[in-house]
């Protein structure tokens, strides 16, 4: 574990320098343990690291570092929650997936093949980040990886399912975005009134279900 003093009120724990399932499992188990440390205000899990924000009036860097090392040892033997599988219905192509044809052309497939490959894979939610409820998914088949748009769109509709490089994701809310949109889901990924307010959680497995063309 490498520890970086990211700021005067945060510490970054780096568990690995690349994406790995082992690091993910540690991040998954460590996050709730860190959240219960008094003085910790926010925990930002990522692929292979955890950023811990804390109140520097209540606790110091060295205390957080010591607590984190102890919790990491605990996390290694803590039982992980039973993984859930969440099915996400997607209307691929057409008005909901304006870049499906381009992704097919870029990857040497037909649009139907892209849909079959995308909806045939099992994805892992490594973490939620960037914006509310946005899942960082692992598991996109290499053969449908497609470069991001040269010029990002000013507005990507909420629920858009997109490919950006070797990643795939779902935009929980309308926002600017540079990934290629291949479909859309009507399932809300973020609902501030919900408990929890997000559909997906770190560690979930995701399957995309292709809907009949034209329906949402």
């Amino acid at each position: 574990m490498r520890v970086v003093d990211a700021s005067d009120r945060s510490l970054l724990l780096v568990l690995d320098d690349r994406i790995s399932l082992a690091a993910h499992r540690n991040v998954l188990r460590l996050t709730p343990l860190l959240q219960s440390v008094p003085g910790v205000t926010n925990v930002h899990p990522a692929y292979a690291s955890v950023l811990i924000d804390f109140d520097p009036r209540a606790i110091r860097h060295c205390d957080i570092e010591r607590a984190a090392a102890e919790l990491l040892a605990q996390a290694a033997c803590a039982p992980a929650a039973e993984p859930r599988t969440v099915e996400i219905p997607v209307a691929y192509g057409g008005e909901y997936g304006p870049d499906l044809e381009a992704v097919a052309a870029l990857t040497g497939h037909t649009p139907d093949e892209v849909v079959a490959l995308h909806s045939g894979a099992d994805y892992l939610v490594y973490f939620l980040g960037f914006s509310p409820g946005f899942p960082y998914l692992g598991g996109l088949p290499d053969s449908i990886a497609a470069p991001r748009l040269e010029t990002p769109r000013r507005r990507v509709p909420a629920g858009s399912v997109a490919i950006g490089g070797r990643q795939t994701g779902i935009y929980p809310m309308a926002s600017p975005g540079g990934w290629r949109i291949i479909g859309r889901t009507a399932l809300p990924l973020f609902d501030p009134a919900g408990d929890p307010p997000v559909l997906l959680r770190m560690g979930d497995h995701v399957r995309f279900m292709a809907l009949v063309r034209g329906s949402l």
């Binding site: 970086v4 003093d5 990211a6 700021s7 005067d8 009120r9 945060s10 970054l12 780096v14 320098d17 690349r18 994406i19 996050t31 959240q35 205000t41 926010n42 925990v43 930002h44 899990p45 990522a46 692929y47 292979a48 690291s49 955890v50 950023l51 924000d53 520097p56 009036r57 860097h61 973490f127 939620l128 980040g129 960037f130 914006s131 509310p132 409820g133 946005f134 960082y136 929980p172 809310m173 926002s175 973020f190 501030p192 009134a193 929890p196 307010p197 997000v198 770190m202």
Partner: protein, 279 residues
């Protein structure tokens, strides 16, 4: 632009939700103490331009933060009577002014906070900036006594940063705040910084991180910042200078100065002492 703000909603970064909250939290906290509220009560944050606020019932109010050429003195608890209007103009210097009212602004809490997160339309008053003719309620409460205090010493020097690496590159330049800056981030323009080479794995980003995107023009991630990011970070603004960042306005010139974490924490302690002297 005016929004409802408090000290934000920490605790949801693992869901991708940043804390938000007042851009100059020190001024909001001071204003609340002046009107006898808990320091984190919800108040109105005005950005660059204010507005006219009419009170249907009597209250005790305080204006803190930047001077908006208002009809009331700054840093002073003032009683207003039913029908009174508080007028705030444009920021004379700085960017943000807080109107605190005894009891605090009463809006539904979203994930534990009254703070407006504009990008996601979360919290505050209908998730948006206030418009003409909006009517807001205040809670009952507060134990104000009418008094005036001096605001914190204005920060005119460099914004201080810490960094686990040598931040000389960003500390040597003079940076101009760009007009497309907002509560998510302050975009700076100046001598392009070297792109750190190599692939960066997406990781958590703290408040005040100075991120260097591929064009070499740094961005200070601010209260509505994204919770994770993949761009290299060269330094991080110290907690005691968040308020200075919150008072930056477009075209301001900014310099940075690297300090140690111990020095940053001493500066924060001094600031907290000033605040507690108001309680």
């Amino acid at each position: 632009m005016t929004t409802v703000q408090d000290l934000g909603r920490p605790g949801y970064a693992h869901l991708g939700i940043s804390a938000s909250g007042a851009a100059d939290a020190l001024s909001l906290r001071a204003g609340n103490l002046l009107v006898g509220n808990a320091e984190g009560a919800a108040a109105l944050e005005m950005t660059l331009a204010g507005g006219t606020f009419e009170f249907e019932s009597g209250a005790v109010v305080a204006l803190t933060g930047a001077d908006f050429e208002a009809s009331l003195p700054m840093w002073t608890a003032v009683r207003v009577e039913p029908g009174d209007r508080v007028r705030c103009g444009h920021a004379r210097s700085g960017a943000r002014c807080y109107l605190c009212v005894n009891g605090g602004i009463d809006v539904p809490l979203v994930l534990g906070s009254a703070s407006t997160h504009l990008m996601t339309r979360l919290g505050g008053w209908e998730g948006r900036a206030l418009k003409r003719d909006d009517i807001l309620l205040t809670k009952l409460g507060g134990r104000p006594w009418l008094r005036q205090v001096s605001g914190p010493a204005p920060r005119s020097g460099a914004i201080r940063v810490t960094s686990p690496v040598d931040a000389a590159a960003v500390c040597q330049g003079v940076w101009e705040v760009q007009p497309d800056s907002d509560r998510m981030g302050l975009r700076l323009r100046g001598p392009a910084l070297d792109r750190h080479t190599g692939h960066m794995l997406t990781e958590g980003v703290p408040l005040g991180a100075i991120q260097v995107p591929p064009d070499g023009q740094p961005i200070i991630l601010f209260v509505e910042h994204q919770t994770t990011g993949g761009y290299p970070k060269i330094a991080n603004v110290i907690s005691a200078d968040f308020r200075a960042v919150g008072q930056l306005r477009p075209r301001d010139q900014v310099r940075f100065e690297q300090v140690s974490i111990d020095a940053a924490l001493s500066l924060l302690e001094a600031q907290e002492e000033w605040l507690h002297s108001l309680a």
